[in-house]
Subunit: 400 residues, 2 copies
């Protein structure tokens, strides 16, 4: 069968996203075939500024902005505002992750733009949402990790709270933003009408705490919620990261079969007959002893040896990989999730594909993230019919 | 203006999801107005089994399955397979997060079901994906946090690697799954055709490491990637969680204005004139000294005092909230993101709303998660026209 076109082919997206949250939603749209135009102020979005630090600070921008074209636009100039309105008339989606009210103050809020184009999907991503008493609290990944409770439940009980290393608040909410946009696009096919859709980082975090909230439910001891590498609800055992000869290894038994298999893998097939270890409920009660047994076994083995033993017995387990191993991962490279490209300013780098796969359509290969305003002439020409000299004049005027 | 119907009204979803990943996608669909039918084997999905532990182990199931109806179905019986095929003829979406190949072995894989209903969206969520050398590695949240690199970059440089407390791999991939499904629904409106869509947990994690990958990019020292509560790429300063009188507090300065504001808030307006602290690039070079200054200031203040000072000067900052504070949060409760309901088996509990907001349509209020098979008679009657006695007979026969 011939390949099918990508599912979002034909859609035009004005991506005002900055840093991770907004741009990730735009990346997922670009990878699904949409025509995504990254719009930045003349001095660049915040990541461009960080990019000036050089070294690794420039990689994230390249990771999040493949397959987009880039234009500049000065929304603080009246002419810039006019240009945005003109672009919106040609667009299906506008996405932005400015603080609440910023776009309204510039005169290009959801109400104004959707009145001009009732088919527009206006997508807002903020830290705390467009309403409510905390609406105007400033938000970044780390502050949302703090305010959402995520930091309080990460780390060891007797140690300080710890931020999750990955930018989970940014990416979780960016992914939700994508979902909200595409839902509204689906609906528009049926109703002909656009929508204002909204995602708040702090709200995208809340459901992820299900296990942890389980632990404190009706627990009069008011536990902290920090369980190290154990289950967030202390409801499953074994469930931990164990030190081994050459690093660390995660093992989890979610049912009795896994546990019997692990016991065999450890050469201790009699363990499930011991009343202390006979059921998950008992092992949870004897969690320290259960962990000590697995730990003692793991301590003398390498990650490869543990993986081989666990795999042979069908026990869910995985090595703790470092970033170098992740970048070298043949599985993700083979599937196109990690793509090694030659980037004009960064050289050879690894960029993400899309975790969203549509069978019947090949993955969209990465084109390198554009430099600031790289596509001004092309995009303003294509969408607004402006001649190159006109685009140049707008630049000199400070409108773009 | 009158309220608009929810965007996914009219769609029927067969939700074979288990634990968090699949059920979360189903929850987002239910909250957006779809008719979501949770399908479990006669003994219940794995979380039901964990539920038998009692106490907190039962809360997560209730959090993830509001607004769904529940039926049982034994896919290991030929009659059960027939029933699924009959249900699929009436459905728009099937979602499942079994291991790769499980549905195929049961005779109800994507190919079979989509041949029977070419408009079906078949959505598969797995740990490593449906193809590739690691396809058959068993996967749970903790093993994916390990294999994706997330654990290796969480924690302090001189301490062990730490799992993020929230179930980030489950929820990130569940959110991507929702996005993939809705994208295919959008496309179906235009083409009339369904799709097999696929999300792998490990791939949904990769983009979240952008900052961390930035740090190792071209860094010959091969750093571990664990930066405690500092920026994952060590590219921003101040950026940390600081101990204070009554807990911990997150502060971040993403630009020079934030830093000048923080300096004023700390009563040290002269700091930005010091060459060591004059630019983010300089502060990154003097990160320990920069952090020490903020730390000394925070140490004598409460979270409320820091928040007031930071807020007055517009510095992004937030207290590290514990789970009790999160559940009491008036902002999320007021916005309907945390809903307090009386659950028939659990009593008064807090369940999540949807982080996806569609302006013009009120949030869908939570109906409590159903007990196992609670809606057998209703759903089999409604979708397949089976009389209650027939449903009873199927139960006795072991088909449902």
């Amino acid at each position: 069968m011939p390949d099918r076109p990508p599912p979002l082919a034909g859609l035009t997206v004005i991506d005002l996203g900055q840093v991770y949250q907004g741009p990730y939603a735009g990346l997922l749209m670009a990878k699904a075939g949409a025509n995504v135009i990254k719009v930045e102020p003349p001095h660049g979005e915040p990541l461009r500024v960080r990019e000036a630090l050089g070294g690794g600070a420039s990689l994230p921008l390249a990771m999040l902005n493949s397959n987009k074209r880039a234009i500049t636009l000065n929304l603080k100039s009246p002419r810039g505002v006019e240009l945005l309105k003109a672009l919106i008339a040609k667009a299906d989606v506008l996405l932005e992750n400015f603080a609440p009210g910023v776009m309204d103050k510039l005169g290009v809020g959801a109400e104004v733009l959707m009145a001009a184009n009732p088919r527009l999907i206006y997508a807002s991503a903020t830290g705390y949402g467009l309403t409510g008493p905390e609406r105007d609290n400033l938000a970044m990944d780390i502050t949302i990790q703090a305010a959402s409770g995520a930091i309080s439940v990460t780390g060891f009980e007797d140690g300080p709270p710890v931020k999750a290393g990955p930018a989970i608040a940014d990416f979780l909410s960016g992914t939700h933003l994508y979902g909200a946009i595409v839902t509204a696009l689906y609906e528009r096919e049926r109703t002909g009408r656009g929508r204002l859709v909204e995602v708040a980082m702090i709200e995208a975090m809340f459901p992820t705490l299900a296990s942890n909230l389980g632990m404190i439910h009706n627990n009069p001891d008011r536990p902290l919620g920090r369980t190290g590498n154990r289950h967030g609800g202390l409801a499953v055992s074994p469930y931990n990261v164990y030190a081994c000869k050459d690093g660390w290894f995660a093992i989890i038994c979610t049912n009795e079969e896994h546990w019997r298999s692990l016991a065999r893998a450890m050469g201790r097939p009699e363990l499930p007959d011991d009343p202390r270890f006979s059921t998950n409920a008992e092992r949870v009660k004897h969690m320290a002893e259960t962990d000590a047994i697995v730990e003692a076994w793991a301590a003398n083995l390498t990650r490869a040896e543990i993986f081989a033993a666990a795999g042979a017995h069908r026990v869910p387990a995985a090595p703790v990989r470092d970033l170098y191993e992740v970048l070298d991962n043949e599985h993700m490279k083979g599937r196109g999730m990690i793509e090694v490209i030659d980037h004009p300013s960064l050289g050879r780098i690894s960029v993400p594909g899309s975790p969203l796969r549509y069978h019947g359509t090949p993955q969209t290969p990465a084109t390198p993230s554009p430099s600031i305003g790289a596509d001004n002439v092309e995009v303003y020409g294509e969408l607004l019919g402006l001649a190159p000299e006109k685009v140049e004049a707008l630049k000199i005027e400070g409108a773009i």
